[in-house]
């Protein structure tokens, strides 16, 4: 299974274009929208995770988006969490909307589910002891 995360940046005149629909319908891609900021007549951004059994379909779909004038950036940002230095306070979970970071019974130690993480970076600032980073 091929999988990648991309940020699609739409120029103002393309924000009305149903790109996600075409990626699903015409290229058979499984799409999970992780973050979206779309305002009419302004630049729009979409962070999506794309999955398909064959990488060529993903590449064809992304080429379709590029041809439309949409900027495609591969996201290889990943959260780096130094578990040994972590004090397991749980403060970071306050801002983690994707619930990738969680803490609870029975051991009350922080857990990171990288599959759920959207690499939004809010936890980096919220961590009091600075043990979370995002690497590019």
């Amino acid at each position: 299974m091929a999988r990648c995360r991309v940020v699609l940046t739409f120029p103002p005149d393309k924000v009305r274009h149903p790109v996600a629909y075409h990626l699903v319908k015409d290229y058979g891609l499984k799409i999970n929208i992780l973050r979206a900021r779309v305002d009419l007549n302004e630049e729009g951004k979409l962070l999506i995770e794309i999955e398909n059994h064959d990488n060529a379909s993903i590449q064809n779909g992304l080429q379709y988006a590029r041809d439309l004038g949409v900027t495609v950036e591969l996201v290889d940002r990943e959260l780096q969490w130094d578990e040994d230095e972590c004090i397991h306070c749980g403060s970071c979970t306050a801002v983690c909307r994707s619930e990738a970071l969680s803490i609870g019974a029975p051991d009350w130690r922080l857990k990171l589910d990288k599959q759920k993480c959207t690499a939004c970076g809010l936890c980096v600032g919220a961590c009091p002891v600075k043990v979370i980073r995002i690497d590019f």
Binding site: I87, C89, G90, S91, V129
Partner: protein, 393 residues
Amino acid sequence: MSVSRTYEEINEKIKSGKAVVLTADEVVELAEERGISYVAKNVDVVTTATFGAMCSSGAFLNFGHSDPPIKMGKIWLNDVPAYGGIAAVDAYIGATEMSETKPFEYGGAHVIEDLIAGKPIKLRATSYGTDCYPRTEIETYVTKDMLNQAYMFNPRNAYQNYPVAVNTSSRTIYTYLGTLLPRLGNAVYSSAGQLSPLLNDPYYRTIGVGTRIFLGGAAGYVAWEGTQHNPSVERNDKGIPVSGSGTLALIGDLKAMDRRYVRAAVMQRYGVTLYVGVGIPIPVLDEDMAERVCVRDEDIHTSVVDYSVPNRSRPVLGRVTYKDLRSGAIELNGNRIPTVPLSSLSKAREIAEELKGWVQSGQMLLQEPVQQLPREQATKPLEIVDLEEINNG
């Protein structure tokens, strides 16, 4: 038959390796299985602990004299100002003081953690020069081993209880309790609940001036009542204060501490603070103390406070228990609010276990308080007045 034990009896049992020591979590389980009388008869000591952000912390340092000597006036440690208005080479480094070159990134708390870790710290000081202290400036490096004394003295630690912070406004706010999301997006709480020292001795029978404790991985003492010690707040049917109340001033040898239990922290857009690990052994003197140490999260209430109101008296929106808070969400006026801890329960448990080992092995004996903490006293606000109002009473 009523049970009673003296400190001397308990210490004799500790010395002979026969003392029964449990953590405050373990004693709750035991009480649920066998009842409080069984605990009173069979348990000698219960260890309590907390590992939380405690802004009112710092350390006294003595640098020794240079040649020629200097009467240090302004002092910086790794560019963090330290207080130098005490004699020539004494200083107090406060946890929340921020670096002049790296504010919101490095501060007094980091100096303290780095000292404990054995790292060299850049010392810079200036002075006006006197006949006996002719030098006017100095720049050098120190480590904890090079200092004559380095002892932590924290004016206010181990809050007996603390409010839960929420935010009813429409914008995210950044506080010393961390990030509070708008429209009741989360609720931040910071007590270790049933494991927390003063919640296991709500009327300060065994925790007082002189009590020997675990502070930052070393042996320390309760030095005095903590600042803003406020025992007269409302209490629930178990005698537990339902909001911030008792506090402790703590002292301990920084040189013997371990950075696993003392960690510098930065609260986003608030500033620097220090996570301090505190553990207190509580003697089960009688049935009353047995009942106290068997307190459970569901017996401990605290107040939900709206931190979006920027006033001294913030509105109280409700009351919840630590069992509710530990469940992951609380209900407030029909809203379900996810809860977020700020102090580390896993670290607190680690400290309670470590302290249990100290007492079991005889490394730490119990010290009876030499003076009780005040049990009735309110905290005064700061009023803005002119001199005449004071002079006229």
